[in-house]
Amino acid sequence: MGALEIVRTAFTPLAALLGGAVIGAAAVLLLLATGRIAGISGIAARLLPPYEDDGWAGRAAFVAGIVAAPLVLSATTGAAPVMHIAAGPVVLVVAGLLVGFGTVWGNGCTSGHGVCGLSRLSLRSLVATLVFMATAFATVFVVRHVL
């Protein structure tokens, strides 16, 4: 996989902090509105049957809001988000399967465990975050420096 395209990106600490603060604010507002943790994987997965409660429409609205974000941004600011997808369709499908299965199996992703869980000082979320960071670091190392 040495042919895999590697796009260099600039270190942007201020935009990262600001964007992170907005993500944190969204998590706080979801807790305030619905009393629930802003775990994107859990909210997305519960769009699929079986349905355990009557919260489907709210979850669909939340997911629709995330999908609409780049549309609203490019309509208001005129700038489309920068995006470089290096992986081919086969790798994207395999990665998607692993991300979908793993986040449901482990009850959370970067938002639920990484942001909300750590903010709640949850030991489970700390363990989950350390594990997915470790396997993600290892995977990128193998793909970019070993294969």
Binding site: T9, F11, T12, P13, A16, L17, L18, G19, G20, I23, G24, A26, A27, V28, L29, L31, L32, A33, T34, G35, A38, S41, A44, L48, A57, R59, A61, A64, I66, A68, L71, V72, L73, P81, M83, H84, I85, A87, P89, V91, A95, G96, L97, L98, V99, F101, G102, T103, V104, W105, N107, T110, R120, A128, V131, A134, T135, V140, F141, V143
Partner: protein, 144 residues
Amino acid sequence: MSIVAQFLVGLLLGVGLVVAGMSDPAKVLNFLDIGAMSSGGWDPSLAFVMAGAIAVAFLGFRVVLRRPRPLFDSVFHLPGATGIDRRILVGPAIFGIGWGLAGFCPGPALVALGTGSGAALPFVVAMFAGMAAARFVLLRSRAR
């Protein structure tokens, strides 16, 4: 009202991901590429995203949880599990491999879908299939 609020919160979250640069898988993969530290290719931005998000959520959660109840529900629904079992190790391990392969976790993948480029579509469809598979396996083991 609750549904409108949830749409707006999702929108805000998506805007935050774009501002933070996390909707670009290249930026995520360059953070995860610790092997590029010596060559100057490492991009530590994601650590600052986490720091900003956790700082706001850590304080904000404490303020919100002083309320007797959320705005649109009668009780708070916080995760109750505290134990470290095999699932909390295996699930994140699998998720991390997928995250490292494509540079997408669920939020940024949904944002990427909204750019309308279509390139993220195979990932998102497969992600929902993976979620359905895990839910099916968990449901069957619970029924037994």
